[in-house]
């Protein structure tokens, strides 16, 4: 009988994994791993991470940020938590796929494994509750939570994978030398997305507090946690020095409330709809067993709290925690079902668990839709990139001199400007307002207001000593980053031939044709969407200013 139970568990676990992989990476990546261009990339941040991984692959390390990422500035320290990029590059080499495919695939992979890891944590409490908890995880691939993946919150999601595994390591704290697991996983969290380490510390505090109140906190447990955290600080100290001298200065903590995340659609607790009844039941059930609270519930409480810390200064970071709420809170969900039905069914076994697992899987995958029960919503799109722009960007990266300067005129997708970094060259982008104004005034100009796109989320820093970092942008005139640019000073000028507002593309083509009147300006690349011109007389009068 026991063997049958175990087999059933494994069978349904495999079925669930197939479902998660299918509705997650399967649907979003068009049932392929390898693509001809970054596929399913929906926002600038996705390209930000993809390009950084590519730059690390080119450089062989992450000592410096590539100049085309750091606004043309050389020797800018690589300040982003490096772990996701390194494993993506290694996986890219091994699997023989491009970094844009490897990094995206790994984000999905770790999201699915997070659900599996949470299952095994809950299973330590109760196998039936664990199995009934699983279906809630389907919602991580449902809009709006899905934007955590499609909009590029990848380092945070990887760090949350480690956070769940960190809970697993705490659950096994009684193992001999268990501080090793704690140290490795906590360090990995710091090097994936440092803010999650703060949430992990909140979880540890809650864990210790509950142990203390229930008088079950032993000296050994405290010792193991402290040793583990201490070793992890040593292991990640090189990066922590960078983090504290760059990110913490550029984005210091402020106690302010951000009830709505302006960066995109957010997930709110009420979005669980009717499922909230079961989740609440699970919460009540766990509170009732406060003194013997299992670690899966402590993690769920900590992350429930963490997801609300947008009201206490954590802003975006708190909203990022919510991307995995369906995984963290799944234990409340499973326990809620279990507790409510226990009033009716006294002797519980798998015969009750399996049908409930199937029912909730059917409901949450949306095979049967019930109002006010959230469910998976199929989102398919090839994303922002297309084969034509990709061909143009890769042409620039492979066929132009390393120090070439590129100027991008208007393109519908260029607002998500991190994708332009795939040119692997220092580049400027025309200011859309000035471009439209010039068109309205029917002028062809030599000087256009222009942006210098690049990544300055944590500002741009140079390092002159172990603890000495200098912020570069304040030392540059503001015109360096945004101002009037002479388009004749650029080696290559890129024009889009098509647009959702075709008049903008026509204006592009008019400027291009004006440039081509000079014999030192030649067309070096063209496809159905993009033209690239090369200017062989840098600083000359490459265009006649006139009205049309």
């Amino acid at each position: 009988m026991i063997k049958i139970k175990l087999e059933l568990e494994k069978v349904f676990l495999v079925i669930f994994l197939v479902i998660l992989f299918f509705i997650g990476p399967g649907v979003l990546l068009d049932y392929k791993i390898k693509h001809d261009f970054p596929y399913g990339y929906m926002a600038s941040d996705t390209f930000q991470h993809q390009v950084r991984a590519e730059a690390i692959k080119d450089a062989g390390n992450f000592r410096y940020e590539a100049p085309y990422i750091s606004k043309g500035l050389e020797n800018a320290v690589g300040i982003y938590p490096p772990l996701i990029y390194h494993i993506a590059v290694i996986y890219s080499y091994l699997a023989g796929i491009e970094t844009y495919d490897s990094i995206y695939f790994l984000v999905f992979f770790f999201a699915v494994i997070s659900s599996l890891a949470m299952y095994f944590i809950i299973r330590d409490f109760n196998r039936n509750v664990a199995l009934m908890s699983l279906p809630l995880g389907i919602l991580i691939f449902s809009y709006p939570l899905l934007i955590g993946i499609t909009w590029g919150n990848w380092p945070s999601l990887l760090a949350q994978f480690f956070l769940i595994q960190f809970a697993f390591s705490l659950m096994k704290i009684d193992l001999k030398n268990s501080y090793f697991l704690i140290a490795i996983i906590f360090s990995a969290m710091i090097l994936s997305h440092t803010s999650e380490a703060i949430f992990a510390l909140i979880f540890v505090l809650l864990f210790l507090m509950i142990k203390l109140i229930s008088r079950s906190l032993g000296k050994r447990e405290l010792y193991v946690i402290l040793i583990g955290l201490f070793i992890s600080l040593i292991l990640s100290s090189y990066y922590i020095i960078i983090f504290m001298n760059t990110w913490l200065k550029a984005q210091p903590y402020h106690l302010y409330q951000v009830p709505i995340w302006l960066g995109g659609p957010s997930f709110y607790i009420l979005d669980f709809g009717w499922l909230l009844i079961l989740i609440t039941a699970g919460i009540l059930f766990s509170i009732q067993r406060f003194r013997n609270m299992h670690i899966s519930f402590i993690l769920a409480f900590a992350m429930l709290l963490g997801g609300f810390l947008n009201y206490a200064g954590f802003g975006l970071r708190a909203f990022q925690i919510r991307f995995f709420w369906p995984i963290y809170l799944s234990v409340f969900f499973g326990a809620g079902i279990y507790m409510l039905l226990k009033f009716i069914v006294k002797k519980w076994n798998m015969v009750y668990t399996i049908p409930l697992f199937i029912v909730f899987t059917v409901l949450l995958t949306g095979l049967i839709k019930i109002p006010s029960i959230p469910h998976y919503n199929r989102a398919t799109s090839e994303g922002l990139m297309d084969p034509y722009h990709w061909a143009a960007l890769t042409w620039i990266s492979k066929n132009t001199e390393d120090n070439s300067k590129i100027y991008f005129f208007y393109g519908d997708i260029y607002g998500q400007n991190a994708l332009l970094r795939n040119s692997k060259r220092s580049h400027h982008l025309v200011d859309q307002d000035d471009f439209v104004k010039s068109l309205q005034e029917r002028k062809i100009k030599k000087y256009y207001m222009s942006n210098l796109p690049g990544d300055d989320g944590g500002s741009i820093w140079m390092r002159s000593g172990i603890f000495a970092f200098k912020e570069i942008p304040p030392t540059k005139p503001s015109e360096y980053f945004f101002g009037s640019q002479d388009i004749c000073k650029f080696d290559y000028i890129v024009f889009d031939k098509v647009s959702r507002q075709q008049v903008l593309a026509q204006y592009n083509l008019l400027i291009a044709s004006e440039l081509l009147k000079k014999d030192y300006v030649t067309k070096v690349f063209e496809n159905e969407v993009v033209i690239i011109l090369k200017n062989k007389n840098i600083g000359g009068d490459c265009i006649e200013e006139r009205s049309f």
């Binding site: 495999v14 994994l17 197939v18 992989f21 299918f22 990476p25 399967g26 990546l29 068009d30 049932y31 392929k32 791993i33 390898k34 690390i56 692959k57 062989g60 390390n61 992450f62 000592r63 490096p82 772990l83 996701i84 390194h86 494993i87 590059v89 290694i90 996986y91 080499y93 091994l94 699997a95 023989g96 796929i97 695939f105 992979f109 770790f110 494994i113 599996l116 890891a117 095994f120 994978f161 480690f162 595994q165 697993f168 390591s169 096994k172 193992l175 001999k176 030398n177 697991l181 490795i184 996983i185 360090s187 990995a188 090097l191 994936s192 292991l235 990640s236 090189y238 990066y239």
Partner: protein, 121 residues
């Protein structure tokens, strides 16, 4: 003791083989538009990077953790150690392209050396 560990190793490496086939089958279903060679190489890479290194490292806790538990937490242990080591080795000057075989292999050897005294070859 030595025989027990050797038997365990044989048995669990078979489990890993079965899990590999299962993962390949799942990938074949999910990524049905993909070439088989790409799928095979992707799954092999996942196992080489995230399964095998931690399997040998976590053998240390073989008596306290079930195989499947070691498998799941092992993915985090491998990803963590390989990601961190790769970052630092890159900073020291060893190009990342050399890490792809070096790091997993080093972890496997470290893991085997930890349990060496318990293995009968």
């Amino acid at each position: 003791m030595k025989k027990e560990v050797s038997d365990l190793l044989k048995k669990e490496l078979q489990y890993i083989g079965l899990l590999f086939l299962l993962a390949l089958a799942i990938f074949k279903v999910v990524f049905f538009k993909e070439d088989f060679i790409v799928l095979l190489r992707s799954v092999l890479s996942l196992f080489w990077l995230f399964v095998l290194p931690s399997y040998f490292i976590l053998l240390y806790w073989r008596e306290n953790l079930e195989f499947i538990e070691r498998f799941v937490i092992g993915i985090a242990v491998s990803a963590g150690i390989i990601g961190m080591s790769s970052y630092y080795l890159g900073l020291i000057g060893l190009n990342i392209k050399y890490h792809i075989f070096l790091l997993p292999l080093a972890l496997i050897l470290i893991g085997m050396s930890i349990i060496k005294k318990d293995i009968k070859f």
